[in-house]
């Protein structure tokens, strides 16, 4: 699996320190929920969720953190990077079902890809996005009339956690709606844990994207294996069912860093 060259076409600021990068890259062949490894020769190679893919271009939405993401933010249109993937287990949906997407952080990116794909299959949908402050919300206006915002400080939308907002939304669904509803979740793990718990409480199926430290991305190094199943999240995940997630003893408790040391949430 040699990396192929992707050429940066377009850079679009989305929120504070969050930028969408669109690359020219034919036939990535991805599904929503999968990720790519982006390689900047001489710098590093890191995993990013695919935010859109039309067969000619793909996009990622990136939060600026440190070395690698800072280097990405310095790229100018026309720059070449190396891409491998797509990797990982994607989200799945049934035609005409009701999608509730719950995102935090860059989670809105893969969820937007999912919603756009599910719309083609005549799904109905609502998008719930949470952040600490309104300036950190990713894609607050991408799906007008279908989006519900939550901020910890009340600067936009619901004042409180997006998972509390989720419970509000779920509790007003009719029995008929509930039957065809699936929750799709991507964001900080404690938010995901709360969302999985809401899903369980209301008997709704859920699909959750689990993030673990990725080295290879294709199931060899064991860096992303979770307790107590030992499954690598780069191949069995990132997307797993909420039920499965709640069975993982480390879900919402701890993860392992680049050395393999346990870090509590």
């Amino acid at each position: 699996m040699k990396p192929r060259i992707a050429t940066l076409l377009n850079i679009k600021p989305e929120a504070d320190n969050v930028v969408s990068f669109m690359f020219r890259y034919s036939q990535l062949g991805s599904k929503p929920g999968q990720f790519v490894m982006l390689w900047l020769p001489g710098i590093d190679q890191k995993p990013f969720s695919i935010a859109a893919d039309n067969g000619k271009t793909f996009s990622v939405a990136v939060f600026k953190i440190k070395d690698f993401t800072e280097a990405l933010f310095k790229l100018k249109p026309g720059a070449n990077i190396g891409v491998t993937g797509p990797f990982g287990n994607p989200y799945t949906w049934k035609p005409r079902s009701h999608v509730i997407a719950v995102g935090g952080g860059y989670g809105s990116a893969p969820l937007a890809y999912l919603v756009n794909a599910a719309k083609v299959d005549h799904c109905t949908y609502e998008v719930l996005i949470g952040a600490r402050h309104k300036k950190l919300l990713l894609y607050p206006t991408r799906f007008p009339k279908h989006t519900y915002l939550a901020t910890d400080d009340g600067s936009a939308g619901y004042h409180g956690y997006v998972t509390a907002l989720l419970e509000q939304r779920v509790s007003v669904l009719s029995a008929a709606q509930r039957k065809k509803t699936v929750l799709y979740v991507c964001g900080p793990e404690l938010m995901e844990y709360a969302a999985a718990t809401v899903a369980k409480k209301y008997g709704l199926p859920s699909q959750i994207s689990i993030e673990r430290y990725i080295k290879c991305g294709f199931g060899i190094c064991g860096q992303c294996c979770v307790d107590d199943t030992g499954e690598p999240m780069c191949t069995v995940g990132p997307v797993i069912s909420g039920k499965h997630a709640l069975r993982l003893s480390e879900f919402g408790q701890y993860h392992r860093n680049k050395a393999g040391e346990m870090i509590e949430y």
Partner: protein, 307 residues
């Protein structure tokens, strides 16, 4: 398919090689559930290490290349995983350690042997940390002997297998010297030095520039190494490792002299259930050749040669 190795009973001769999948107790147990007869933990060092920056590995049609840089959470965290493994799984566990100098090998050996490992493998052959550790100890008879002596001193009850490198031109002599110094077994082989250059970016692919080659391209080299070691040692058994992806490959490694067969990179081509697949194919091979006892394969190619 049961086989005894240094007094430890393995359900079958296929063992997970160090550094592939098995970082935690749960991931090691999963390899047992998927058919391995035993597992080797990812090599541990005194202190935790993050390893090299990415890219640290790549898989290709006929080979795998890695320079992970021996990342690990350190010996104390590793011991917790070992203890946990023994609580959740009864299969044999091979510990693995490395260090930067002879004295430190003694210290990590002492620590890991306080944990319930069945066998200890000593990694003196990683080709990917040259800048930090200089030339691997497995390239020199003197260094290999010095380390064997110190680890044997501290390993006490735990049998020790020295893991050797195909990059040494005299692997047979090094194996014989390790045996004389007290080694209980030889693991042959670690990866062979290599690299890839990305033609599109006109740059080395690995962040470490150079790395270790494993997978099918390594198999003929591993076979020759096992063959040489088998000819050179007097009594000690071999964990034959390198490029095994099928039951037929495993049989060939045993014919060359391996008692156990290490499998790592094959996961890339055949998935994590490769262990069970290889065991089934090895059974089939034995049936086809009217062999009842898996032990009868070991070293058989040597006998036919002298006959």
């Amino acid at each position: 398919m049961k086989i005894d190795f240094l007094g430890v009973r393995f359900a079958n001769p296929i063992v997970l090689a160090s550094g592939i999948l098995g970082v935690t107790a749960a991931s090691l147990k999963r390899c047992i559930d998927l058919g391995a007869g035993g597992v080797t933990i990812k090599s541990l060092s005194l202190k935790s290490r993050t390893g090299h920056r990415n890219p640290t590995m790549g898989g290709y049609d006929h080979f795998f290349l890695n320079a992970v840089g021996l990342s690990n959470p350190g010996i104390e965290a590793g011991i917790k995983e070992i203890k946990k493994f023994k609580k959740i799984c009864h299969a044999p566990l091979i510990g693995s350690v490395f260090a930067g100098n002879v004295a430190e090998f003694g210290i990590v050996t002492k620590r890991i042997c306080s944990a319930p490992i069945d066998i200890l493998e000593i990694d003196i052959s990683c080709p990917n940390v040259g800048e930090e550790f200089d030339t691997p100890f497995a390239y020199s008879v003197e260094a290999a002997v010095a380390i064997t002596k110190v680890v044997k001193k501290y390993a006490k009850r735990v049998p020790v297998s020295m893991k050797l490198s195909p990059n040494a031109w005299n692997i047979g002599a090094i194996a014989a010297a390790c045996e004389q110094a007290g080694a209980d077994a030889i693991t042959a082989i670690n990866t062979a030095s290599g690299m890839t250059i990305d033609s599109a970016f006109q740059a080395p692919f690995l962040s470490n520039t150079v790395g270790g080659v494993s997978g099918p391209a390594l198999k003929p080299i591993a076979l020759k190494a096992v063959w040489d070691v088998y000819n050179s040692v007097k009594r000690i058994p071999i964990i034959a490792t390198g490029g095994v992806t099928s039951g037929e490959d495993a049989a060939e490694m045993m014919l060359a002299g391996g008692t156990l067969v290490g499998v790592g990179s094959a996961v890339f081509w055949r998935g994590p259930d490769v262990f069970g697949k290889i065991v089934a194919e090895l059974k089939q091979y034995m049936k086809q050749h009217n062999m009842r006892n898996v032990k009868s394969i070991i070293g058989k190619a040597h006998k036919s040669r002298s006959a």
